[in-house]
Symmetry: C2
Subunit: 315 residues, 2 copies
């Protein structure tokens, strides 16, 4: 019934070209929502998890959160004259990204801490909201939130229309995503799983606050993704989408299970409209998961051929 009805309805995925990829998605959703069918999944178990960077929006020439952190360091620099002589801050201020990268994980951790600690989570959310509305991507000269993938917006809406709960499970910072993902993706804060820094509760008179502290609490990447899914959601997804080796374990945890399961990998193949990269990229390296996809039956989305348009502004 459900299948027959959707055949008559308007195409729920108009930005996807017809072909094996689109057919596999529609077939999966139809099977798992057909009451009485062998692959029916109960409403409460329709959990779909999506990576963010490179899966729901672009991630080149660097993760957009990295651009946020660099902008933030530049803004804060006027109160930190010592940064002019001190890496990794010096490199940021001089635009010398190689010097920044040379400081390694410790340097990057210092930038992250400097960009967000000593504020309350509500103050930080306000900073993010301001940046997301004003900063522009260097290549497209558009706000970063315009660089979300129109076909993925359609997929999110299609899944939700079929009773799926859509979650973000991202290596990005949870406090960086929550201020804007509801408006952009229709995903509320309580359905966002991400990396996080330590926080602490303080009551100052009659004013309670949650303060951001230095130090990483949880890295929601690689094997951390199934751990985060288990911690935050407490159910195994039946559908997962990612784009890099950081999603490998999420895809394994989702699909290597009984019952109908779907794993999707977004393969960046369109240098003209977006970017083309996989095994050698600094951001969003896709190597092991690409090798494992055929064996596991994961659907590899070829952005160039499977997507009619990439971004909403192309409509």
């Amino acid at each position: 019934l459900s299948g027959a009805a959707s055949a008559q309805a308007p195409d729920p995925l108009p930005s996807w070209n017809d072909g094996a990829t689109k057919t596999a998605i529609v077939d999966f959703v139809t099977r798992t929502t057909t009451t009485g069918g062998p692959d029916f999944v109960a409403m409460g178990d329709r959990i779909a998890t999506f990576d963010n960077d490179g899966t729901l929006w672009s991630e080149q020439p660097m993760y957009f959160q990295a651009a946020f952190i660099l902008d933030r360091i530049k803004t804060l620099a006027k109160d930190h004259p010592e940064w002019k002589e001190q890496q990794p801050f010096k490199g940021v201020l001089e635009g010398d990204i190689e010097a920044v990268m040379a400081t390694g994980n410790q340097g990057l951790g210092e930038l992250l801490a400097a960009s967000s600690t000593g504020m309350s989570v509500e103050e930080f959310a306000a900073v993010v909201k301001d940046w997301i509305q004003t900063a522009k991507h260097p290549r497209f000269d558009r706000p970063y939130v315009e660089l979300v993938f129109q076909p993925m917006l359609e997929l999110l809406a299609y899944l939700r229309a079929n009773g799926y709960q859509t979650f973000i499970v991202s290596g990005g910072g949870i406090e960086f995503m929550r201020p804007w993902v509801e408006g952009v993706y229709g995903i509320p804060p309580q359905q966002v799983v991400g990396s996080s820094g330590k926080t602490e509760f303080k009551l100052d008179g009659d004013k309670p606050e949650i303060l951001k502290l230095p130090g990483i609490e949880f890295v929601d990447d690689g094997p951390g993704k199934p751990v985060g899914i288990n911690r935050f959601i407490g159910k195994r997804p039946v559908f997962a989408a990612g784009n890099s080796d950081g999603d490998l374990q999420m895809l394994q945890w989702t699909t290597l299970n009984t019952g109908p399961r779907m794993g999707i990998i977004i393969h960046h193949t369109d240098a003209k409209r977006e970017w083309a990269y996989d095994r050698d990229s600094h951001f969003g390296r896709l190597d092991k998961a690409l090798d494992e996809a055929p064996k596991r039956g994961w659907v590899v989305v070829d952005m160039k051929n499977d997507w009619k348009i990439i971004y909403p502004f192309e409509k």
Copy 2:
């Protein structure tokens, strides 16, 4: 409109006696859901958080999870002959609770670790499900899940019927609650925030697992509750209910904010039908939060006088 309609409808809180407490609850829900009213709260912001032990079910003569851990140690003892001579295990096996308590937090941590580590989260969930169906409370000779509070079940349903999302925010173990709270309270796993142990993802051939490790990851109690709310939900609740000083900061975080807010404290005042305790109790000590309630406008529920019945089986 909403208020007029509910005046005609069947009483949504039939196990609550008429009086100031019930009126305050109905008034709050009516105000926050009256479209166009000054206290209207948008659907997505209707977040209600509930402590579990002593708020949604009983917690005497000890936390029910403690009874689970003790039963589990007894079951596992046949594979650990050394426990007969080794505290805190010896005390558990001999029923010498004072000897157990004398080992302090370290001893209790050893019991917790022994009762759950070395298993996958799915295996642990099966153990919990089995226990919750078979173990019986010593005083009532009934399964522990029958010792939930009927008035609170009604309150949860009433809030949900009015567009509230109900969350558990408990010091209890998240993996201990999730296997049964959906069936008992109607709260799905992704709306359960609790204390947690460390876990790790493993892929064994084609079989992925999340293994429980020794070591505490997060204590969702006291100042940990607002931290957990921020981490898992990412929005400040407009409604919170608790019963002990472990809920003090959750109540502060919820109510010390602009807009309509409600804080509720369940005061255990009925020694005959349940238990009577507050400032001196080992489990569920209520002291500072009781002192702070009048100043903050928190509604203190007097179980003896506000509740017609305590448990569903009294119906």
